[in-house]
Amino acid sequence: MRKQIITSVALMSFTGCIALTGCGPTRARTSTYTAADMDIAVVEIRDKLASSPFMSTRSSDSPSLVFQPNRMENLSNERISRVDQWAVVSRVLLDPSMLEMLGSKNITVTLPPVGERITNSYLSAGTDADSGANLTFAPQSNLLPTHMVDARFSSITRASSEDEDGGLADVRKDLFLMDFTIFMVRTREIVWAGSVEFARVAEGLLAN
């Protein structure tokens, strides 16, 4: 009898220990932006630019303009790889439909050398079939930009614990804001601005 009790206690301890380690439901584990977030944001920005009064008032007879994008400046709490920083601005301006539309408005797009190199590596890596692969860039010579395209990425971050008694942060929410500005190089007058917001929430110990 005594042996049965000892055996039972030991087996119950072991089983209980295993039971305590059960798995929970799978939830988002990171609040960092996803490729899909960027895709949606880029399309939204592109649509806003295409339908802007700045574009709608232009035609093929309008004075020639040259747009040069800068690398997206990261002011967020989230790290963005250099390739992604160029990819976002490139995908707004270098989408075939956008290039066609810009061409019909007598606007040429040129990239600074570093941007062209990185964008080429991004496109040649085949990151996305719709990303505008096989694009050709305007030659650098004799194409001084009349307008610069700036993009900024910022965020608001909150982290807290789901535990009512407090504890290590296990929920984090990031609200991201991506805004684009086109300004005239000569006067620095802003001719167009547009922005997109999206948010991400993740659960799980931040330290684990």
Partner: protein, 571 residues
């Protein structure tokens, strides 16, 4: 009956013998890092890093490649590692749901390595440093901001738990740290048996603590600098105030940022970070012991006859021994207790067994218990090449013009290194330049050489010279413009640029600037197959160009033929 017991004992020995092996630090990697042989260290780190992303130590391997590449002055070859490490550190609860496998196997076999909180903070800082070297201050701020998270203060738990621990009047730092950890565990155990918590405190796994602001100096300093560069003065001032609040030793550093008295930031590190080991009953408690002793010696930087001093920014030994920067894993203790109970019960059953069946049950229990105890041991995986300490030097260097800069730790002349070709930000650059220097002990002549012995992509020699592979002293990226210099130095006139490139190709030499995005191998001057120029503000630069190297050993067929044509007497 005796044979049955013998069988079980044998099984136990075999199981324990083949059970989880504790983590073994890579001594060859540490040795290379300690002697400044960062090229060799980078190779070792790359070769030993797990290739499979599902490997539980995959990111530990990537972290080592990142650290050794940064030290060698070739951060550009490790961008992918920085990206992967960041994504992993930013993933929450990576080991959630691994509890069952943790019970059945060792923790290191079941859980992904993410490091202790201080290792995570250092990881973010190294990613920030990487981004700094790429001129991306936005990413520097993002990564450094993530390195500053709330930490757990167990002071009250230590006081309460100490009542259960034995008093010792004189304790070493290690003994005190172990006693504090045992007190925290004892308090958690006591609380789990009925005591209620009071006050606004947090609880995790039975442990009680107060959440407090981080005291990770390096994170605040990097964020202050990044905000300064990005023009966010509110954030800059907030981080500088916090830094000054942590210690008055940062006052002059903070003032220098406030005055904008710098155009170059150099993150400097020294020593090897602490070693992790298991301590206490069944070695369930994670502890660290120093490899390089802590010290408060300042960093001395000399440039253009001017000398500046900078305080120790972060002492990694301090973080490692501080309970606020340590994870406490309740599961290991539970496994240890369960294992002990099972062994006791098993032995009792065997001792009183009336039949072979009963002895079998007892034996199985004992084996299971021993396995549980063995698997309860602390997970001692750690990044053994973290530095012991870091400094941040703020310098004013001539823009776009190379100058000599010396680094040395106060009172430690063996750490002195002279970097002859450091320049400030390029002309008209809007923001400060960023570099990383890892100091080591040593007396090699190359550490203090005033001028490079080889031409490279940032340094030219006064006289024409042949490419290194042809017996000359030019380690520059070959270009059509260099051909006239090579011809002046003795290259046959009929050899043109394309012929030369064909020879490089025939030798299997990877020219880094023409192969962007690849993980660079060792330099051709050190027996490798890669031609690159490290950051001039790195120890790797001095090691490559400030000492003589043995002649290049051809491996193709074109080069020997050309050498024979150029030196017929040597045949």
């Amino acid at each position: 009956m005796h044979k049955l017991i013998q069988f079980f004992l044998l099984a136990v020995v075999v199981l324990i013998g083949t059970g989880c092996a504790s983590y073994k630090s890579d001594t060859s990697l540490m040795s290379a890092m300690q002697t400044g042989e960062f090229g060799a260290a980078r190779n070792i780190a790359i070769d030993s890093a797990p290739m499979n992303p599902s490997d539980k130590s995959y990111l530990l391997g990537r972290a080592k490649v990142l650290l050794s590449s940064m030290a060698d002055g070739v951060p550009q070859s490790t961008e992918g590692n920085a990206d992967r490490l960041y994504d992993f550190l930013r993933t929450q609860g990576v080991n959630k749901g691994t509890g069952l496998s943790s019970v059945l196997t060792s923790e290191s076999s079941a859980t992904y390595w993410k490091g202790e909180p201080f290792e995570q903070a250092m990881g973010y800082s190294y990613i920030a440093a990487f981004d700094g070297t790429q001129g991306d201050w936005g990413n520097v701020r993002a990564s450094s901001a993530n390195s500053i998270f709330l930490i757990r203060d167990f002071s009250d738990a230590i006081k309460r738990g100490s009542e259960f621990a034995s008093e010792e009047s004189e304790q070493t730092d290690q003994q005190r740290a172990l006693a504090e950890r045992e007190a925290i565990i004892a308090d958690a155990q006591d609380r789990s048996t009925g005591a209620d918590s009071e006050g606004e405190t947090g609880t995790d796994d039975g442990f009680e603590f107060d959440l407090i602001e981080s005291d990770f100096e390096l994170g605040y300093a990097l964020q202050a600098l990044a905000s300064d560069q990005l023009g966010d003065m509110t954030d800059r001032d907030a981080k500088m105030n916090t830094l000054s609040g942590i210690s008055s030793r940062f006052n002059s550093f903070v003032n220098q940022i406030r005055l904008g008295d710098y155009n170059t930031v150099v993150l400097v590190s020294y020593g090897l970070g602490p070693e992790k080991y298991g301590a206490g009953y069944d070695q369930v408690i994670e502890m660290y012991r120093p490899r390089t002793a802590s010290g408060s010696q300042r960093l001395l930087v000399r440039q253009s006859g001017e000398s500046r001093q900078f305080p120790v920014m972060t002492d990694v030994n301090r973080l490692a021994i501080d309970t606020r920067w340590t994870n406490f894993e309740g599961m290991r203790r539970a496994k240890s207790i369960v294992g002990t109970v099972m062994v006791g019960a098993g032995v009792a059953v065997i001792g009183t067994a009336d039949s072979a069946d009963e002895a079998l049950v007892g034996g199985l229990l004992a084996i299971g218990g021993l396995i549980a105890k063995e698997n309860a041991k602390a997970d001692t995986r750690h990044c053994e090449i973290l530095p012991q300490r870091t400094y941040i030097a703020l310098l004013n260097l001539p823009e776009g013009r190379a100058t000599s800069v010396e680094f040395e730790i106060e009172g430690m002349p063996q750490t002195r290194v002279v970097l002859p070709d450091v320049s400030g930000p390029s002309d008209n650059a809007a923001r400060a330049a960023f570099h990383y220097v890892r100091l080591t002990d040593g007396d090699d002549a190359w550490r203090t050489m005033a001028n490079p012995l080889y031409a490279n992509d940032t340094h030219e020699l006064p006289e024409s010279t042949l490419p290194y592979i042809l017996g000359g002293r030019c380690m520059r990226t070959p270009t059509p413009e260099l051909m006239s210099e090579y011809h002046d130095a003795g290259l046959p006139a009929e050899i043109d640029f394309h012929d030369l490139m064909a020879i490089y190709q025939d030798e299997g030499i990877v020219i880094a600037s023409l192969a962007r995005g690849v993980e660079l191998g060792r330099h051709i001057s050190e027996g490798g197959n890669t031609l690159y120029t490290p950051d001039p503000c790195s120890v790797g630069y001095a090691r490559l160009y400030c000492q003589d190297h043995p002649p290049y050993s051809p491996s193709g067929s074109l080069l020997p033929a050309l050498l024979a044509q150029m030196n017929p007497q040597a045949e």
